[in-house]
Symmetry: C2
Subunit: 122 residues, 2 copies
């Protein structure tokens, strides 16, 4: 077995749990989009820093719809059938909560990484 590990995949770093959900909600807040489009939008908007395949995106979309955070409608464009998703009120709330949590957590991690002694209390 090749050692080769290093920065490759094995233990590799996916620091992202719940991130698909967060990004999907955020993109759909801006406008109605369909699954295949979302896969590429995430790749594009993050300049390839973040990539989620269809095997990630579709299940998350289905779960969010089942939870009432998204609603969908079929639409045929250029003879192609697409499922467009958009946020519900619950989805907007969820996006707000997730965003707040993400900010809090990522700032805290940032703080540890930059060696910031747990800063002064408020």
């Amino acid at each position: 077995m090749v050692k080769a590990d290093a920065t490759t995949n094995s233990t590799a770093t996916s620091f992202m749990n719940g991130v698909p959900e967060l990004l999907l909600l955020r993109l759909l807040q801006a406008r109605e989009m369909y699954g295949y489009e979302l896969v590429q939008a995430i790749r594009d908007e993050t300049r390839d820093a973040v990539q989620f395949g269809e095997g990630v995106v579709y299940p998350v979309l289905h779960a969010l719809e089942k939870d009432g955070a998204l609603k969908s409608r079929r639409k045929t464009v250029n003879g192609r059938s697409r499922v467009y998703y958009s946020l519900t009120a619950a989805g907007r709330r969820r996006l707000g909560d997730l965003t707040a949590t993400w900010l809090k957590v990522s700032e805290a991690i940032q703080g540890v990484l930059t060696g910031a002694r747990h800063a002064e209390a408020i």
Copy 2:
């Protein structure tokens, strides 16, 4: 008393995969520490924004040692036996890689959240 975490813990989105490893490496870069101490250090330095229990910390420490990123030594202090961990050269390299990846990814997510049109190319 019920802890009753407000934000529905069920699917509760803990955006953090690989974060335990990252924080542990970072803290141990500063100085030699032991498991029980690390659990509290993470809580303290992140002002409770991030918390990892012993069930997370110990297994990660063992895995990192097995991978050669950490080395340990037993030491008895005040009649208490502790296992102190410190970084190896491989561990320092790993910390550097993980930190770079974390920065790239978290900035990309930040960009999407703030609606930054995938900024200008270099």
